[in-house]
Subunit: 430 residues, 4 copies
């Protein structure tokens, strides 16, 4: 029996005030879509079925190398983190799974499962950590982990990844995500080729430990924390890794991990075409790996990414089963609010992409009617799908206006009282 952080009755009450307006807007939009040959309820149903995972570490306040400014009521461990994740899913009904990070979230698997069950949550991909040294770690990852020149360090990193798989098995996870960030800061520091050979060897050892029904996700990133070269610097290297590893290995796309100006939706299309798209780490960025809320900087790009996904689904692309996760750093907002807002923006892009008239689009493309092809996308994007999103939430017991209900619930104040402050701001690293 689930025991949700906010009283369901309270949510229902709050929804009442918005009910009539939503019904109106939904009906008007339905009428408009009907004229465009679209059945609004079919769209709403698909939206209601869409889910995106949240990362356990996302409910804490993030920071930069300069400072971290803690917020009130920050969760002090994985169980409090799950509580916060429970709120997000309760109000948005879009984030039923949580992705754990080891060693940060290590705990008794039974207790984890019980807590998650109580909150109506499940577990998504496991995340290993060889980009920082654990407290009890005998060997340091300062100069790399899976690609380290010292075989003992590589072995330690391999063992840690296998441990993550083992933990994941006990809680029902079905995937391992490896992001290491390793690389070099200076020309000459490492040999690109030998380092990549070592990385592939180590990854193969992890892959060998993967259960049959699991997948392994590799993740590319252009830079940071390494500032001259990164072992998997782009999707080209990521593809080579998942290709070398085998059919259970796939390449993950984090929206903030690319070079300036990169056409990310095109990379998504290529990975789908070559049957290697693992899925996404959603966030948005203006400069680098800013880890801002999804859709907050370039919502049209998010839409174009989903446009590729719907297109792949429509043409029944092979080996296409993307895993969706939010991966953000919430430095100046309440993390619960940012994750709810981000989940909504992701659903918004999904709903908009569902509205694209694909048959017309294909015709315009084949006829090189550039203007009308472009207008076809634009028409879908400029449609205000807010009523669809709200209706889908409502239908599943969520909030019409998750942010407003969350604020009205007093949840943050309650946990702030229960969870002593971690103390102002830390001073940052440098």
């Amino acid at each position: 029996m689930t025991d949700l952080p906010i009283s369901p009755e309270f949510v229902t009450d709050q929804n009442k005030a918005e009910d009539a307006a939503l019904a109106n807007d939904y009906s008007s939009l339905g009428e408009q879509l009907d004229r465009r040959g679209i059945d609004i309820d079919a769209i709403t149903k698909k939206v209601a079925a869409f889910a995106v995972a949240v990362p356990s570490w996302g409910v804490g306040t993030g920071g930069t190398r300069f400072a971290r400014f803690a917020g009130p009521g920050e969760p002090r461990g994985i169980f409090e983190k799950l509580d916060d994740c429970g709120v997000i899913n309760q109000l948005t009904r879009a984030t039923p799974n949580v992705s754990l990070h080891i060693p940060w979230d290590k705990a008794d698997p039974k207790e984890l499962k019980a807590k998650a069950d109580q909150l109506g949550l499940g577990f998504d991909a496991m995340n290993s950590n060889t980009f920082a040294d654990a407290k009890d770690s005998p060997l340091s990852y300062k100069f790399g982990s899976l690609s380290h020149t010292d075989p003992a360090v590589r072995q330690q990193a391999i063992a840690h990844n296998i441990e993550c798989i083992e933990i994941g098995k006990t809680i029902g996870s079905k995937a391992l995500t490896i992001w290491t960030g390793e690389g070099t800061n200076f020309p000459g520091q490492g040999n690109f080729t030998r380092a990549f050979e070592r990385y592939l060897d180590s990854s193969k050892a992890v892959y060998a430990a993967l259960p049959d029904d699991w997948r392994l996700f590799t993740e590319h990133k252009m830079y940071e924390p390494a500032f001259y070269s990164t072992i998997i610097q782009d999707w080209g290297s990521s593809y080579l890794v998942s290709k070398e590893l085998g059919p259970k290995a796939f390449s993950l796309v984090d929206l903030g991990h690319h070079a300036p100006n990169t056409n990310i939706e095109m990379i998504v299309a290529r990975l789908i075409q070559f049957e290697k798209l693992a899925g996404f780490h959603f966030n948005d960025s203006k400069y680098g790996d800013d880890d801002l809320d999804a859709g907050s900087i370039n919502p049209f790009q998010l839409f174009l990414v989903f446009n590729e996904l719907i297109d792949a689904e429509a043409r029944k692309a092979k080996n296409f089963d993307p895993a969706y996760m939010i991966d953000q750093s919430h430095n100046v907002t309440d993390p619960i609010e940012s994750l709810m807002s981000s989940a909504i923006e992701i659903l918004r892009a999904y709903a908009q992409a569902l509205l694209v008239d694909r048959k017309a689009l294909e015709g315009y493309q084949d006829g090189n009617d550039v203007m009308m092809a472009n207008q076809t996308l634009k028409r879908a994007f400029t449609t205000d799908v807010g009523p669809i999103l709200a209706k889908a939430r409502l239908a599943k017991g969520g909030a019409i206006d998750p942010l407003a209900v969350y604020r009205a619930s007093g949840y943050r104040a309650k946990v702030a009282a229960a969870r002593p402050s971690t103390g102002g701001s830390s001073s940052g690293i440098v």
Copy 2:
């Protein structure tokens, strides 16, 4: 008496088929906006009053250094260009002014005026050209114009700009836009400081010839055609130019002329604050100065730019009177369609920015309620203002669906028959 390129009756007829749906959508949106405390008719009125100029050169097919692929019915001179501009304004009712380029558009001023009057058009800023050599030009601009090391070349460039002012006076223009693109391709080629001194001196000579009621617009650009340094490389240098010249000089913002990742809306805010914003050259881009249709790549950025403009208007910023122009290169579309679509996207961003609840926004900003401040913008942006735009066009005699009416009118086929092809594609420069 105006004599429009497409029969007004035809437009009215075409509108009839869309009338009922528009009325419905407008009414639903009005209801929704009313709940948000916004009077839809007040917004529509403002939208109807908004105008953006089109460039005479924009109605020809553009190209790249690799090739230009001509389209059917390309205008062969300024009078045919004005016809095409007439179509754009007739259907969108948003582009009543045309910006001329000298020497490309040189013609008898009386005939220009007469032709424009007939089409219901006026003239916007004059544009000089010292980035290419005119056929009869005694001295070359290969190594610069206003900043050239040879005073004779500078004098030729100054005289050309003054000639542009003279022509402009005869047709009712009130501004001169100077973009030269000059700079260097290699380190050492030029001395940054001495070149800028020469540029300022030349500009002052042009400025001295400016009538009292005219303005002079300078325009920065990061690169192209110069590939190592450009004389006005960014808004910082542009500001210094307009500051040095005097109160009639202002700095223009072309959306495609910035470094990757630049926060353009912030530059707009700074130029407004220091009373030097000239206005805009609208277009969109993904990589460099791509000159794509406005709002086609990053519509949210366009909205954020307009958000600054509405904000400036609201706080009665001093010396704030921006000039709006579209500046694009239409390589693969019918230029008339691209300009109509772009004008619509610009109005869309304007309308969305008008919907921002500025009082609430200011409150959230002052209280550092980051989430709600951001949501306030997002709410305005996700609103589908299409019905407002259509209603504003309709009210002024334009088309509910300009692209559809344009296509139905057969205008392109008609001019294609009347204007002999300029012959396939040219071979490009390199």
Copy 3:
């Protein structure tokens, strides 16, 4: 019997004035290198054996979409272009091969061979052109060539590429380079996946016509002339193309075709490791595909690229046989001078990379001695290898100071008199 454009006696005479100084500098450098355990003559020998091809189109003045400013004495056809290429090789002794572009350089193969023989030149890779419409072309490439939606256009492009192979066979070429630049300007214009499928299909048809001892080079480019998506946008897609095609297909790296901040030397390493590096199109850039002289903007990057090549050679990388070509646009310089200077800079980077103490470097890398690994590269780069380059030229009959000898020879004035001007500047495309 070769008949060089500049009298060999003249070159010998000119060298005399520099002989003593060169001998001095070479001897001092030799002494210094000897202390570092390096045999200068061995380096000089390797440098003397290095060659980079020049493109026939590079000896004409380039331009931008805004303007092209012709220089004096521009070659009017392939035979005059070969003369200019002959000068470059005569003075630098580093550019014995010329890469032709079809249809621009179409001519009687026998005459081409004879002319080349006379100048001591050979032929490098053939280049096809489906990015612009040829004069007599029945179908247009406006919307693509190898990936066009119309099979007839694709067939025309395939046939053109096969024709290039046929011509190449008659003059001794052994490779075909395909760069098309095709793609889209607007979201929705094309379907990424279907376009890539068509591209692969067409490429396979060309590949099938490749003689056994030929190679096919594909070339990626981020953008331009397409401004939203390019069919082979990066090395990831380029790798997939060469992988799909087969063992004779390889991926070319043009230094100006990447996203901002890209670590190009790492891409080079990856392509070598996966046995797919075709070679290079050398140039330099600060912003986009600026096509500036090699080494003029970031000479250290050029060195780092060569560092990878020497490293690959040292570890006997499989299928490693890179083709070197310069690919630049000379807009403000004498193209002959730019190509000579570029060839020298490429040799400089090669010579510097040869000086790297690879054994020491490997030791530092294995021991994570970041500082000394970096210093090892830096020590090689800061060495002034000028005397080595001059000595290598001298040994092969070239000029100690190619630019000075070229200017002293009066070659440009001579051809300017013989080749009537193409007439000031063209007006640019837009």
Copy 4:
């Protein structure tokens, strides 16, 4: 009486082994330069007179938001930091001044002065910190400091800056550097204009407290820690700040704080021309504010910056008195080694720039001889000035090979024994 960290006799001994080779190389280079009309001793003298400050915080190991991996013997306070700075200056003789950061380096001024005197060091610009919360800080800088919406927070930030001035006065500093990093992470979070007004007001309050013989340095940065907008995002805004403040305010250039592809040397030229260049924070970067060792990624850019400085000096630019400081984050190297190597690279660029034949360059520029102008810079850059740098160090009592002598001295091992480890790696912020 100075008491240096490493025995001067040891340094002298170490130098002996290199003396003969250096004399040889210096003499050969002198001969070569003499042929080019350059007096090597005059260059060496200028190099010996050049100084660049080191930041106190630079001798600790830096990190990223992901992790910090401590090194052995990290200084635990300002006095140990000064010891490390003493080593850097002792061996390079190029870094006689240290820049302090408050509150990190707060200590009894007399003790600071005494310690510095003992090490032969002085103090450079003071640095305030309002980008992180100090432990005892009553108000948080989470949402800004000098531009905060709350006047009490602004007042706290102003008071802190004035306190920095007060401390600086007691130790002989003559400048205050303000970098706050404040800005916003999301569109709408702040009002650009009102925030800048507040920033200017606060800065004016600090400026008012500046002694007559002090300067105030403002510093722009594109992003990080703020990820949507930064209060002084570029040199344009920085110029406006120093202009608004008055004649004692200047704009600092940090090489890593610009948009991708920015021509930084041009910005330097502009700030000099408009008499507002404060000086530099030296470092290098490939992606963002990577804070890598100066000259390690793009040494030619560093040379081009110095080329502007020498040019300004040559033409006696007004109000030109740049302050030089290194500002780096040493994540994977021994900070002492990185700072020594960086100081050497900065001197290398300075020495190379001194070799530019400015008279010839000016002639080529005036005659638009692009190739020879470019070659003139290139000739200076490719000269191996290593012997000049070593000779300058030697003449002042430093080491011919600072890195080798440092390693041979055993300094790091000694302090590692004396300074207990701060404990493996910290876990990073996120």
